[in-house]
């Protein structure tokens, strides 16, 4: 009886480990390969090979990287471009907050693990039932994605030089498609859709009249505005 229980425990444990590694590889490979699109976009925006690779190695959060090169290509100042990239990166702080309790990493490991705290590693780790599988998921996703993202960034940047006019190949559509793919799963409720709709209006409406990079930052105001309107409506309904 004891033996059977023990056997079943290790059995499910092994199966769970393999399943989480498989999930991690699936996410890591699919998203890691899109570093190619970033490499091409970045080189096409006029960044050098070294600048492009430095971004993937040191920033390693895709939406921020695409936003930065997009804003620089559009003629934004280095600080408005960096500010847009930074605000997109802020969500990683909230992933880190939840991951720190779930993974319970030793203090000395945290500065290294921090670089891998992104959408994909958080998504895989937070979906796991135990600390052990969460840790496996986090590190397997982080490692696969980091290695592939940087390799394909390099290939993309080299490829952009080889293929010349990247727009003719439709590669300027890669950036917005990546943003849309990241955005789509977040549009679950009316509140999220209202924020997205208002942000699109602000981003496009202010674009012709304000310096590059600034309209995106002002579009971020859609979040507090909708949140405030939601709160007001809820209070009114509560009072009625």
């Amino acid at each position: 009886m004891v033996d059977r229980t023990a056997l079943r425990d290790t059995g499910t444990g092994g199966k769970a480990d393999r399943a989480v590694v498989r999930d991690a590889l699936g996410v890591g490979v699919a998203v890691g390969l899109s570093g190619f699109a970033f490499g091409v976009t970045s080189a096409g925006s006029g960044l050098t090979l070294l600048q492009t690779c430095a971004l993937s190695l040191l920033v390693f959060t895709g939406a921020s990287q695409f936003a930065l090169v997009g804003a620089l290509a559009a003629g934004g100042s280095p600080f408005t471009a960096a500010a847009g990239a930074f605000f997109l990166g802020v969500r990683n702080a909230f992933y880190g907050l939840r991951l720190s309790q779930l993974l319970a990493l030793p203090r000395a490991v945290r500065p290294f693990a921090a670089q891998w705290v992104i959408d994909e590693t958080a998504a895989v780790a937070l979906a796991q039932p135990t600390r052990r599988t969460a840790r496996i998921g986090f590190f397997a996703t982080g490692l696969t994605l980091y290695v592939l993202w940087n390799l394909t960034t390099l290939l993309g940047a080299l490829g952009a030089e080889a293929i010349g006019d990247t727009d003719a190949w439709g590669l300027d559509a890669a950036g917005p498609a990546v943003f849309l793919a990241l955005l789509a799963p977040m549009l679950r409720t009316g509140t999220e859709r209202a924020v997205a709709g208002l942000a699109v209006l602000l981003g496009l409406g202010l674009l012709p009249v304000l310096p590059a990079g600034v309209p995106v930052l002002l579009a971020a105001l859609a979040a507090p505005v909708v949140l405030w309107a939601d709160g007001r409506r809820n209070r009114q309904e509560g009072g009625a």
Binding site: L55, G170, L180, G203, L207
Partner: protein, 103 residues
């Protein structure tokens, strides 16, 4: 030089927020309104960026092949296609529309 400044600021800022999440005591960012705002900020930024990078040429609004590409990406997303296929659909359709001489 400007590009390196932008890269340096972005590297430091993005790493700082990642590390802050892991180091900050759990209570500090747990206020419901802060959590709601943190979840909604990326929605606003991603939506605005998607729209701008599809419909902007410098400071001018334009409708070109990228819009068709983004439409293809949206269809791929609704069909639950994997991430890479969504990006590929946008690229291929945009290139296709341009090859046909439109946009």
């Amino acid at each position: 030089m400007n590009v390196w400044i932008a890269i340096g600021v972005t590297v430091l800022g993005c790493y700082a927020v990642k590390l802050a999440g892991l180091l900050v005591p759990a209570g500090a960012l747990e206020r419901p309104v802060v959590k709601r705002l943190a979840a909604l900020l990326p929605v606003a930024l991603l939506a605005a960026l998607t729209a701008q990078q599809t419909f902007a040429d410098g400071q001018t609004l334009v409708l070109d092949a990228r819009a068709a590409g983004l439409g293809a990406a949206a269809v791929a997303l609704m069909l639950r296609a994997p991430f890479l296929l969504v990006v590929a659909a946008a690229v291929v359709v945009t290139a296709g529309v341009r090859a046909m001489g439109a946009g």
